[in-house]
């Protein structure tokens, strides 16, 4: 069988399905090829399932603390299997929703493994038959997968990737997580709250090492308060299985220690899915990080675009989605440029983290005359009412115009609050615009206004 279309998208993850929807919206005959599940990692094994399980952990935690709020709850315990069922139902609902959206938009979904024969011809090996798709433009959105780590012993059946950790039938007694990036920190939060004895190992000196140091400190404090064993500046050197349980050997500042755990979770790095796509044969340039693209999301082949994790760069679902829109528009004659100056990112730890723009350190190293404002949630009425007042809002600005360079939030609902900062950065707002914006009372958003005021020593509530 053969299919002719205007735009063919390979991969139906968040980047791919959005690109397909946008292309169809613009009137293109659009096909999307998916080898596994619609929605990709984000919907099936990433963002959504982890958030679903984290919510379970959160409700569990709240039930445990209910008496602090004057609510007496007896017999609080976790039913992991029920939590998994809830997660699966939500994932099904969302992936079903995406399928419906694609169908409504008139996007044809082809199941199978895609391989480029030329920049515009794709062969899809399906379960029963194979198809040839000839497209005017192709958008590659094949995503990424966990990268293996070269550590001796890191190949046993007790070693999990994030996919495996989400599908566990039963909770382990103990878990050691390698890597305290967003994925590691979220899993540590989740499993620890669910009663798993959790150890978090990070090679760099602090957790969430790419984020602003103030945020790292707050998250590390939160993890330790919840009794997660946090080992920073520490490296896993090997795993031996002489005993009944794996022994993880860790080299830290204080020398080598060994931790005995039931399970090990690797949460370090992801690798672009560039293999088996026929990229080399079609002359598509691939670098170490992934497919090389320009600011129009176009590869070195004029009719071939790539978006999302497969390009390396910032591997976030919302970046892939935005790139997907831009690639679809450019493939159909547009001329939109992808900007990265205002990309928010969130970590669903306790307290939650959300950040956009430059860290204080990065702003200084870029030569700005940096001015910082901070406001702690413990001085915010709504946060106190909620009983959730750890953390702060930090605003990084420069002295010349008061340009807002970065907004960093750690605390309740940080991921929902960050958009004010994203908009501020995208619209090149200065402190004056934040100062002049009325924030509703009583809300957590007041902390952003106060942080902006505090840059110039004008904060009112501290």
């Amino acid at each position: 069988m053969s299919i002719q279309c205007d735009v063919a998208v390979i991969g139906a993850g968040p980047g791919g399905y959005v690109a397909a929807l946008r292309a169809a919206q613009l009137g293109a005959r659009t096909v999307v090829v998916e080898r596994d599940r619609i929605g990709g990692v984000c919907l099936n094994w990433g963002c959504i399932p982890t958030k679903t399980l984290l919510r379970t952990a959160e409700v569990l935690q709240l039930a445990r603390e209910a008496k602090d709020y004057g609510v007496m709850v007896a017999d609080v315990r976790l039913d992991w299997a029920a939590a998994q069922k809830r997660k699966d139902a939500i994932v099904r609902r969302l992936t079903g929703g995406v399928s419906a959206l694609l169908q409504k938009a008139g996007v044809a979904v082809v199941a199978g493994e895609a391989r480029l024969v030329s920049p515009r011809v794709i062969e899809v090996a399906g379960q029963s038959a194979s198809e040839t798709i000839t497209a005017a433009k192709v958008i590659i959105a094949t995503g990424s997968r966990p990268a293996p780590l070269p550590i001796p012993g890191l190949d046993g059946p007790d070693v999990l990737t994030s996919d495996g950790a989400l599908a566990l039938d039963a909770l382990p007694e103990s878990l050691l997580i390698i890597g305290a990036g967003p994925i590691g920190v979220e899993f540590a939060t989740l499993f620890n709250a669910c009663g798993v004895k959790t150890t978090l190992v990070e090679a760099l000196p602090r957790v969430l090492p790419t984020l602003d140091a103030d945020l790292s400190a707050e998250v590390e404090r939160g993890l330790k308060k919840a009794r997660v064993k946090v080992l920073t500046a520490s490296k896993v050197t090997r795993i031996d299985r002489a005993g009944s349980r794996p022994q993880v050997h860790i080299e830290g500042a204080a020398g080598e220690t060994a931790v005995e755990v039931e399970r090990i979770l690797v949460a370090v790095g992801r690798r672009a899915n560039v293999e088996a796509l026929g990229l080399a044969e079609t002359g598509v340039e691939v670098t170490k990080g992934g497919i090389k693209v320009d600011e129009f999301q176009r590869s070195n082949q004029p009719d071939l675009y790539a978006i999302g994790d497969v390009c390396g760069g910032i591997q976030l679902a919302h970046v892939a989605m935005h790139q997907g829109v831009i690639a679809a528009e450019n493939a159909l004659g547009g001329h939109r440029v992808m900007h990265y100056n205002a990309v928010p990112s969130c970590v669903f730890s306790w307290p939650e983290v959300a950040t956009v723009g430059l860290t204080e350190e990065a702003a200084r190293s870029q030569g700005y005359d940096v001015q910082v404002g901070r406001f702690p949630f413990r001085a915010n009425g709504k946060a106190l009412a909620q009983g959730d007042h750890d953390g702060l809002v930090k605003i990084v600005s420069e002295s010349k115009f008061g340009q807002v360079l970065g907004v960093h939030i750690v605390g309740p609902h940080a991921s929902d609050l960050i958009q004010e900062g994203t908009l501020a950065l995208g619209l090149e707002a200065t402190l004056d615009e934040l100062d002049n914006t009325i924030h509703p009372h009583p809300t957590l958003s007041e902390a952003i206004a106060e942080a902006a005021l505090s840059v110039r020593g004008k904060a009112l509530h501290i």
């Binding site: 320009d294 870029q366 340009q403 200065t430 615009e433």
Partner: protein, 441 residues
């Protein structure tokens, strides 16, 4: 009554100018004929003198404003006169006409103004606030013409520009006019990066992978705008034909060396362009049909030979004109051209330096260009392109000898001149170049 300070017509093609600087502040004394303010036209910066002795009473357009020519830009109060402006209500103005009841809240609140009914209706229709309109009728009464001028000024006012708060602040500090900046943000909004072509660190990495590269946009204004309009008009309207011929300039080279030596002590230098202007002026005198301009439906043949010479300046291509080139000897021509070029390059051309040409010469020889197709400087009817002087083997008297050769490209407007007369003109130049002694007869 104070005397109006008018922005004069400073050149034929000029319809607006930018006020660069007021040399006198309001309230300071001025003397008739002394510089009052500086304006920048598309071609030069010029001083405008005070029209009267007195005190500078008001300034209507600040520094940096673009002003149509013949506008009132300020007023000079004569000595002894009170520093009042016409906006002040006068008692007699009040009973010239009563404010009708239909007047808007705004105009009721404003001081009552004497205004003609037609002017009032026009102002109301166009939404002009009459309180801000200058009355030029009897006793300062506002007449229809005044409102029309106010409407024109309203239209000329720059529209609101979309820019981010940061871009606004940075532009204000750097003195950049946002009207001149092209925005690349959402909906054409001006963002910080639009103010300077400098890239941010984040952009650089991405641009390196782009085959499109970074695009730097510069608004087409000033000299560039004039050039753009002239060249497009030339290209679009003239029936341009280019003739190319090669001339033996060996003798001319001898002449150049001779005059150079002779005048070296006087500090006069001679370029080939000087000599060629001299020769072209002679050819134009011999064949006056080439010294013509097409204006409207009429071909003007000019007595005065005014030769423009294309000059590459920092601000772009300028064409200063040697007036009366037909009456000058080569030394006078060389001196005149030197001065014109200097003024053009330093942005100090006088208004008449750049207008009134009847023929243009353009020389690209220094860039090793031989033949090209110059665009006619309308309304002139022809332009001569001079190529490089180059030693070449040529056949002369059945012998191969090395001669200094030059290529001429004559573009003419076939609407005005036919091919044969144009060719005869080019041939005439060739002959004069090859046998400069003919310049004597």
């Amino acid at each position: 009554m104070p005397v109006d300070v008018i922005l004069p017509m400073l050149g034929e093609t000029m319809d607006e100018a930018t006020i660069v600087q007021w040399l006198v502040r309001v309230g300071e004394p001025v003397k008739k004929g002394e510089p009052l303010f500086q304006v920048e036209t598309d071609k030069a910066i010029l001083d405008v003198n005070s029209p009267a002795d007195g005190i500078l009473a008001s300034v209507e357009f600040g520094e940096g404003s673009k002003v149509p020519v013949l506008s009132v830009v300020g007023r000079v109060a004569l000595v002894g006169e009170a520093l009042t402006t016409r906006r002040t209500e006068t008692p007699e103005a009040r009973h010239v006409e009563r404010e009708p009841r239909a007047a808007t809240v705004v105009s009721q609140a404003a001081p009552r103004r004497a205004i003609s009914p037609r002017a009032r209706k026009l102002a109301a229709d166009a939404g002009v606030d009459i309180a801000a309109v200058e009355g030029t009728g009897p006793a300062g009464r506002i007449v229809e013409k005044d409102v029309q001028r106010a409407i024109a000024q309203m239209k000329a006012a720059p529209p609101r520009v979309a820019a981010t708060p940061l871009a606004r602040k940075a532009a204000a500090q750097a003195g950049i006019e946002l009207q001149r900046v092209r925005g690349t943000g959402p909906g054409g909004r001006i963002v910080l990066a639009d103010l300077s072509p400098k890239q941010t660190a984040g952009d650089t990495a991405l641009s390196a992978t782009s085959r499109q590269g970074k695009v730097t946009s510069t608004p087409v204004t000033g000299v560039r705008k004039i050039i753009a309009e002239h060249m497009a008009a030339s290209s679009a309207t003239a029936a341009a034909v280019t003739l190319v011929t090669e001339a033996d300039a060996t003798e001319l080279a001898h002449v150049r060396n001779a005059v150079r030596e002779r005048y070296a002590a006087d500090g006069v230098t001679f370029s080939y362009t000087d000599l060629l202007v001299w020769i072209v002026a002679r050819a134009l005198r011999d064949m006056p049909y080439m010294n013509a301009r097409l204006v409207g439906n009429e071909i003007e043949q000019h007595d005065s030979i005014n030769i423009g010479v294309a000059v590459d300046t920092e601000r772009g291509l300028l064409v200063p004109v040697i007036r009366g080139a037909g009456e000058m000897n080569v030394v006078q021509l060389a001196k005149a051209l030197r001065e014109l070029v200097q003024r053009a390059r330093s942005g100090k051309s006088l208004p008449d330096d750049l207008t009134g040409g009847t023929f243009t010469i353009t020389n690209l020889g220094m860039y090793e260009i031989d033949a090209f197709t110059p665009l006619i400087n309308l309304p002139e009817c022809a332009i001569l392109g001079i190529g490089r002087l180059n030693s070449k083997p040529v056949v002369r008297d059945e012998q191969i000898s090395v001669r200094t050769m030059v290529t001429f490209s004559l573009t003419f407007d076939h609407r005005v001149i036919d091919g044969a007369p144009a060719a005869r003109f080019l041939q005439r130049i060739k002959v004069l170049v090859e046998q400069p002694t003919l310049m004597l007869v």
